[in-house]
């Protein structure tokens, strides 16, 4: 699934606000990935392809738990996982989302 204009049509963004482990505060307009993907299952694995190469994989069960977001970050979107307070998986410039069944 390509991240492009129109993908989020009809969806209501949520306001994400919080503080990271290093004290940095964040505030984003974001969409729940589970809503964006629609048909994700607990067994699946979802890869977020990043324009800068920092691709990130998240399990379907974590996405279904509802705390994984695509957040607007300037002109592009980034992954935001609030419980990941060190921002290790918050990859930027997401261009595509690929879902596959886990092994």
């Amino acid at each position: 699934m390509k991240i492009e204009d129109g993908l989020f049509e009809g969806m209501t963004p949520v306001k994400l606000k919080g503080k990271c482990a290093d004290g940095a505060e964040y505030s984003y307009q974001a969409f729940s990935v589970s809503e964006v993907l629609g048909s994700v299952t607990a067994d699946s694995l979802v890869e977020f392809v990043s324009g800068d190469g920092r691709d990130t994989l998240v399990s379907g069960e974590e996405i279904l738990a509802g705390d994984v977001y695509l957040a607007q970050d300037g002109e592009t979107y980034r992954l935001v996982i609030p419980k990941d307070t060190h921002r290790r998986r918050w990859c930027k410039h997401i261009t595509e989302i690929e879902s596959e069944q886990g092994g």
Binding site: L45, E47, S50, D52, G53, R54, D55, T56, L57, V58, S59, G60, E61, E62, H86, R88, R89, C91, G102, G103
Partner: protein
Amino acid sequence: MVKTAAGILAGGKSSRMGKNKASLTWNGDTFLHTLIDACRDFPEIYVSVDDREKYRDLSCTLVEDEEKEYGPLEGIYQVLKQMDAPYAVMLATDMPMISREFLKALVSNITGEEDCLVLRREGRPQPLCSVYAKSILPVVEHMRRNREHKPGLLFQRVNTRYLDLEELGFGEAVIANVNTPEEYEQLCFHYGRKLQEFAPRVREKLTHGKVMVCYLDGLGYRMYKNAADNGSVPFISRNFSVLPVRTVEPPVTNPAMATMITGELPYVHGIHSRKDREVLVPTLFAGRSGENTAFLEGDTRILKTELLPRLHAAAKGKGCDYWIYRDACKAASEEKEFIFAHFHEIDDAAHADGPFSSACMEKLKETDGYIEALSGIFKGEILLISDHGVHETGDGGTHGEDPCSNGVYSYNIEDMLAVWGEHI
């Protein structure tokens, strides 16, 4: 040249080190074996020990202390008594940097006139890296009877000539010695194995057979020693020789991983921080394909490499390392030539709970089990490597984020010393 023997003094108590210094590792071998190798040009090599039983596998001639608790002069005495040569160079076992060239230069200064040829560093005598004549035996016997143990007293009583290290044309490093774990770490930091030596090692191993690299993110040398001492890594500590390895600055994953897989330093590979991903030089994955190689990563692609890694995420109640392990087993059974498995959870535990926490030790135990299982399946050589260490903070651990200003290291030494393990 005057015929000279070599005497290695390995009978000390190593009390400040807390373990026998002779068995400390240095570039893939022990201190003692490293020194024996440096002495291989001498016609006679003696090793002075406190207990023969501990060294029964050694091929050199062993001499044992008769006077216990008498100090190094006892070892010198026993070697002089046993040897045939008129002179012997006596060396403490805790100086792994001593080289053949240095010893050759030292003994070439023996004129045959002196009783002792004593090396000095900055004006200070180095009695445990000096030359003694067999003819001084009566003087040493007299000292033993009077329980006089200071080599300085001996030097006053015999014909002693002093030789400054600078005259030999060697720097201080050649006789660097260690007495404490901290000094050992410093020696490793300054003169030991470097992370940039790993990729050439892997390339060389790959020319001979299959290789699996188990990359244990965040496993510092001090953390590993702690785990080995408390029994958390029974398989690794029994089956691998694990050495400290100096990582790059800053000691964080991206630059260190890039050095690990390229053999180059950051100014060459272009990865200077956690934000950089574009590697400027070929990596271990250049020219490789999924047909012959399995590159197994955690949940994030860290660097842009020629071969894309397979990513793994925590799922079904298992952490991502479990899924990496599963895929490594699969790749081993498919007989891939090169498997590179990047395990992440030791680092995660060290950040969350601290590098010496029980959670971290548990994670090491789990990883030790993975490596034991992989060793049973993989028909090739397994190399262990890590990228950096982690030091304790008040609420967990961190690394590479707090440059020190002590004038010695740019970063905390616990962060700078990673590990490199090879199968024994």
